[in-house]
Amino acid sequence: MIFENRLCKKIIKTNRPRRRLTFDVIDSNPHGRIFSMRPTHTGTMSKLKNKKRNLEENEDEQLPIFDKDGGKDGPHLDDGDEDQGDLSESEESVFSGLEESGSDSDDEEEEEEDEEDGSEEKSSDVEEDKTDRQLSAKEVIKPQTDGQNSKEKKKKKKAAGKEGGEESVASDRDSGLQISSQVDEYEHDTSDEEDIRNTVGNIPMEWYKDYPHIGYDLDGKKLFKPIRNKDELDEFLDKMENPDYWRTVQDKMTGADIRLSDEQVDLVHRLQQGKFGDVNFNEYEPAIDFFSNEVMIHPVTNRPQDKRSFIPSLIEKEKVGKLVHAIKMGWIKPRRPKETTPQYYDLWAKEDPNSILGRHKMHVPAPKMKLPGHEESYNPPPEYLMSEEERLAWEQQDPEDRKLSFLPQKFACLRAVPAYSRFIHERFERCLDLYLCPRQRKMRVNVNPEDLIPKLPKPKDLQPFPTTQSLVYRGHSSLVRSISVSPSGQWLVSGSDDCTVRFWEVSTARCLKTVEVGGAVKGVAWNPNPSICLVAVSYDDTVVLLNPGLGDRLVCTASDQLISSYEEPEEVKDQLVQWAVAEGEGHEQGHRLILKHPKAVRQVTWHGKGDYLACVMPDNGSSLQVVIHQVSKRRTQNPFRKNKGLVQCVSFHPIRPYFFVATQRYVRVYNLIKQELTKKLMANCKWISSMAIHPGGDNVICGSYDCRLAWFDLDLSTKPYKVLRHHKKALRSVAYHRHYPLFASGSDDGSVIVCHGMVYNDLLQNPLIVPVKVLKGHTITHDLGVLDVTFHPTQPWVFSSGSDGTVRLFT
């Protein structure tokens, strides 16, 4: 009990300043304080409980109990309304579960007095109980002795019957800020602090400024302001004369002047100084730790346990049931079993080298990181450091293109080496490589480059072929477009852009004769018939047949006679070409026949028998591109009604009556007798430049401007048997040797390449093509090198004419 008392006291003390009761509360719960759980005489818990139960059950029974409390309470109980209020209040407090056991409404008021005195505070409850009566008596007297008028006024206003209660209330008010020793602190909370004499409530009082009254009392009657006849002067006089003026204050609610008592003044002073209102309150009392670690045998509070603490909770039961079920079903495992195996152990204790998964057959192990070279050293040899230009180049390169991912650096000592900033990057990239890079087995071509070179018969074994430059024929001042060798092999004719045709002796490189013509010579061709000595020269739109007068005089005169013996046919036809016999100076120079063509002639070529002469006049889309002249009959014919494409060059078949026409991309072979197209060869190149026919007649080579030489086997296919890309630049001319298995090609790169091209009689065996010699000698002028090549008719010699104005002989 002692413990409990101390607690009570503490609570009292702390709550004391808040203790205020108003009538307002009393209106609703008129005697809220009257009923409480305070054990009165016996002061036992059991009784208290009884009381509670009784209260709820029966009102009537309550009354005697209250009677027991004291006769003083008698008048209260007469008031039925108040009882009702009591009940409701008590019920509330019971269920609020917060009320203190040691409270009593009756005693409360008395206790208030106690507080005033402050003397009995420390006494026990029992003592308080005992002194209750005496105190109540005192209390009645005390306010009166105070002699304060306010109380008197109030008394008048109040209903007369309720003296005791009223008095206590009044005293409460009088003491103003005084606080009761009420223990049941929560009761206080229910009441607002309001002046019960004036019912206007908590409003600004200046609203009543202009009225004679100041509010209304409980009965609804006007409360009139005290008559104020004091003016400023009176006020001043009062101030001067009245010794108590300084302690007189005006009550706003009633408008009355109140003279503060000594205690009240003291209280004001203390509050002004920031002290506690109660003189006796020791703010530095030693703190008592109720909830300490020491186990006490008594509960901290004496509050009975709730009913609910005795009734098993249904919700909890449900929850527990669920958990139990879940555990039973294995849905919940109380806790995970602890790992027993150590983190690391001998994983390969039972390794079976043969137990390799099938997957591992496809496994491509990741390649290891590249090992660093000298240049990565912190102190590399000086040659591995980058020079300034190299460094700049390195910096300008894309990071992906760099050969080294870092800049080689040199540090004087190990201490000076800094951290490598891209270390984490490099590791990360390695990680990415490991899991993101597609892997593929790649067979590394480990071929010896020598094995790639095809095995060809040695050029030595394929001799004879021209190997060295032996003669240079100088004399032309401009590029030599065309050359031709006489069928005997003794003379050479060359036509040049300087408008001359020169005749050379092959063996001495002497220029025997120079014939001037009226334009840049595009083509020359020696009549292949050894019994006729005629050379066809084409310039501009003219073809001239020359008799050089070289060699056997008999032959020369015979050919002259051949031309002069021509007899005009009876009926003259309209010819495409004007035939004219050269006379005078021209005849002196050797001009025999002059053929005027409608267009510029680019190429002339003889038939093998030497009677027919074909001329090419390239003109796209025209029907007149190729004409064939018959010299003996001075007749001209246009073999094609229509030409497809731009004709590049033409050629007669050496044996059979076939005629080859090369356009830009195709070579067409016509049968002259049947007058039909027999073959169309596809050259697989962009632009054919030249063409030569094997003396056997079954093979054709075509040179093209896109550096290719195509060998066609007419018996095999219309597509090239072999395409050779030996030259670096456009091919200008190709030629076959008449007897030896040789062919040559001249190109803009200034070289002549001689190849061995063996054609076998056996149809099953493909021709053998072996390059045997690269002949160089011509200098390149105006981006042109060799313009024409031709073989000596009997010897394995090759002539070439170039843009440097020379003709060269390779033997």
Binding site: P372, P418, V472
Partner: protein, 575 residues
Amino acid sequence: MGGLQKKKYESGSATNYISRNKARKKLSLSLADFRRLCILKGIYPHEPKHKKKVNKGSTAPRTFYLLKDIRFLLHEPIVGKFREYKIFVRKLRKAYGKAEWSGVQRMKENKPAYKLDHIIKERYPTFIDAVRDVDDALSMCFLFSTFARTGKCHVQTIQLCRRLGVEWMNYIITSRSLRKVFLSIKGIYYQAEVLGQTITWIIPYQFAHDHPTDVDYRVMATFTELYTTLLGFVNFRLYQTLNLVYPPKLDGQGEFSLKSECEEDYALESESYSEKLAALSASLARTVPSVEDEEAELDHFPAEGVKKKKKNLEQNKQKKLFEGLKFFLNREVPRESLAFVIRCFGGEVSWDKSLCIGSTYDETDETITHHIVDRPTIDKQYINRYYIQPQWVYDCVNGKILLPVEEYFLGVTLPPHLSPFVEESEGDYVPPEKLKLLALQKGEKPPEEDEEEEEEEEDDEDDEEEDDQSEDEDEAEDEASLAEMEEKRAQGKSLSVKVTPGKVKPENRMRTEQEEKAEEKRLAIMMMKKREKYLYDKIMFGKKRHVREANKLAAKRKAHDDANKPDKKKKKKKC
């Protein structure tokens, strides 16, 4: 001819491969999980031979996996664990949302975890496989162990990495299997030979990392997870092979000697112990008491020949390179690396007591033979020891001999540090320092400096000549033929004008023969098929480039030497 028409892409390579997205859907995993799974299981994309066929006619860039690989992943128990973890995260988030703290606690206790043991076993069916693949694991672990203990990854991971790295180094020390060390600008490369496998790893220099932002640390962490597991098992097995206790324990004596000092600097007993292990200064405890010179003489088979024997002998000699030497490390040198290297070759090493735990003797010890310093001068020098720069140790290891110390004294310009990983084949550029080293290895005495220089120069010149020859072969041929022609032309000219008494031209038969051969070859090359020609050109281009690079290096070196020669001579004169 009957039968159903064959449909496209229903057989052959189209069915053997599966694109990544399809694979992911098949496994019903998120991309992140799929990536993790691929990393852990070692699944990588394959490049199909005919991409278009596999891609069903489309040429869109896709990564393809082997369908077999993906099927194989389907049975992986760890996929289930991934899903469990996903669910766990979802539940946890929910619990957090509802503020059910007890629930959160409980869930965290029951967090699903997975083990990678079976994956390691499956990826490396035999122990040798695992050892072969330990390169990347080591590099990664050593990198992670240098990370700060904050931020980028879990502290436990870093600690584990550190522990495994130390275990590995201790093993290498005990087995004396280190072969090569290289100080690069990136870090220090080590190469060891473990069970016949060469293993190379790199350790960054000891600096704080500037963590890049464009690196996905999750990928790295996943790799590390795998690598730590692998390395742990490998370490365990390796320790077993040497009869060492795993986890490593210090030898009784070592423990005793280390116990007294610096104990109070560490809060935890375990911490100080791991630091002592990391100090690498004491030997490890064995399960079976070690027998000195336990290496039994290997049986020799005459068939193996002398070569192998010689090699073995050499290796044994290298293992005992620093035996009997006592090193002391000054505080500015990289302690761990040097201690590791020196101990690997039988040397004794110590350092200042305040530098690190585990020092065995003081600077004042009279028996110290080498004092490694990396500063220009040192105030107090003891007479009976060499003061050398740290590069000496590494160069000795790479050279397999104790190099003369004169070039490594304090304040001396160091000779270049060469990479031990470069093995020059014929035609490669060999730096003169390497030639010098080779000569030293053969036992030749280093000649006087002047001679040496001359020799070097000669070497250089020889090299260059050779290179030039090889490079200019073709050109020379061309030129020769041209010259020939010109000569001929000249002859022709002279013929046409006048006849001069001819000189007997000294005909070099060899040369003409060579030229003939070269021309023959050139003509044959002309006749090559297009495809072969392309290949041939490529090979030849590569060869020429190689030669060119070597020449460039040689030229650079020569220029450098020429530039420095006058300075040297001046110096000598002054001397």
